[in-house]
Amino acid sequence: MSLSRDQIAKRVAQELQDGFYVNLGIGIPTLVANYVPTDMEVMLQSENGLLGMGPYPTEDNVDADMINAGKETVTAVTGASIFSSAESFAMIRGGHVDLTVLGAFEVDQNGNIASYMIPGKLVKGMGGAMDLVAGAQNIVVTMTHADKRGNSKLLASCSLPLTGVDCINKVVTDLAVMKIENGAFHLLERAPGVSVEEIIEKTAGKLIVPEFVPEMSFE
């Protein structure tokens, strides 16, 4: 079975380490916050200028001046700090964020990512995505392995305009976990019940498959 959005988030949460500063993009990445292990401390960075983003507020605590990068009302955790957009992107561009998780339309075997623009459709903008992929040392992309028509999103070369070049290390899809290294995807894990053959079939880029591919574990 392919993973649900929440299961993808749960698997990405295994990439977290105690003491990490983490930036979570919009969509599936946001869900990762729900699966931070209870024995671990992480600080969530929101690029509009908040380090230490907390959960959504109760009705009594809603404050229009307290939002995240998705423009949602949020709270700040104890120990949080608030700063300007320039300061926020100094953290991001300067490589101070330990882990960045974001979505994409396409990723290719050279670590290029396309995530903000589909020609012919209205371009809404890249927001902070280009800065995030340029600055982070450690980026995990979450997405479905193939689009609704079954076309692979893991390509030899991205077909859409790029968000960044040679910057993606790891991809977690509904079917598999892969790292990107030396011009190829390397299959690390498969979703429970998903065959290696299905992953090979749905990966258009170069895929290195080891002899044994473990199933993801959610323990």
Partner: protein
């Protein structure tokens, strides 16, 4: 106005000198931390052909969106603009110019502009459509693109508190682009929730020093929420 007292009483005074074709740097992220009354005043003034430098362009009936409806904006320099149907219509009809700029690059363009730095190199956007036509230079084995900074005839920003000399404090994430915008305007106008006496703000807590601020007006804010999200239970 006497000495360092920068407080004005009317929105006409706050925005006087703004004329057609000027560039305006605006603080705010989405609808958070926007100078609502100053935007409304620009609508009243019917100034047109404006270039706005702002992370977003409001929604159809609020924020900078109200200036789009009146066709007062010629060009937007923004990182994300998708929240607005009239924006889409004007853009697709070729009535509105848009320069999409990565969010961190946009913040840095304002910061550098205000700091007298004409351009800077950044890795952001290298190898993407943003890099088209820009100089590329290698530092320590990595490729960077040259981005030019931005200044404007006006900057319009929102702060929480100002003293009469224009020393500013922001409230929570309503800070966002406001401190950089404040530095990048030839004339910087700040709309605040509260004006306090000089001396009430401690020197070390001031987030924007008054030297960047030219005019202060006390506003009253709707503070519209773009996406209300609540804790479950």
């Amino acid at each position: 106005m006497a000495g360092f007292d920068k407080v004005v009483d009317t929105y006409e005074q706050a925005m006087s000198g703004l004329t057609d074709g000027m560039t305006v740097i605006a603080g705010g992220f989405g609808l958070c931390g926007i100078p609502e009354g100053l935007i409304a005043q620009i609508k009243t003034m019917k100034t047109s052909g404006l270039t706005f430098v702002s992370n977003n362009c409001g929604v159809d009936d609020f924020g900078l969106g109200i200036l789009l409806q009146e066709k007062q904006i010629k060009k937007m320099i923004s990182s994300y603009v998708g929240e607005n149907a009239e924006f889409e219509r004007q853009y697709l009809a070729g009535e509105l110019e848009v320069e999409l700029t990565p969010q961190g690059t946009l913040a840095e363009k304002m910061r550098a502009g205000g700091a007298g730095i004409p351009a800077f190199y950044t890795a952001t956007g290298y190898g993407t459509p943003v890099a088209e036509g820009k100089e590329v230079k290698e530092f320590n084995g990595r490729q960077y693109i040259l981005e030019e900074s931005i200044t404007g005839e006006f900057a319009i920003i929102r702060a929480w508190k100002a003293d009469k000399m224009g020393n500013l404090v922001y409230r929570d994430t309503a800070m966002n682009f406001n401190p950089m915008a404040a530095t990048a305007g030839k004339t910087t106008v700040v709309e605040v929730e509260e004006i306090v006496e000089v001396g009430e703000l401690k020197p070390m807590e001031i987030q924007t020093p008054g030297i960047y601020v030219d005019r202060i007006i006390k506003g009253s804010f709707e503070k519209r929420i773009e996406r209300l999200t609540l804790a479950k239970n």
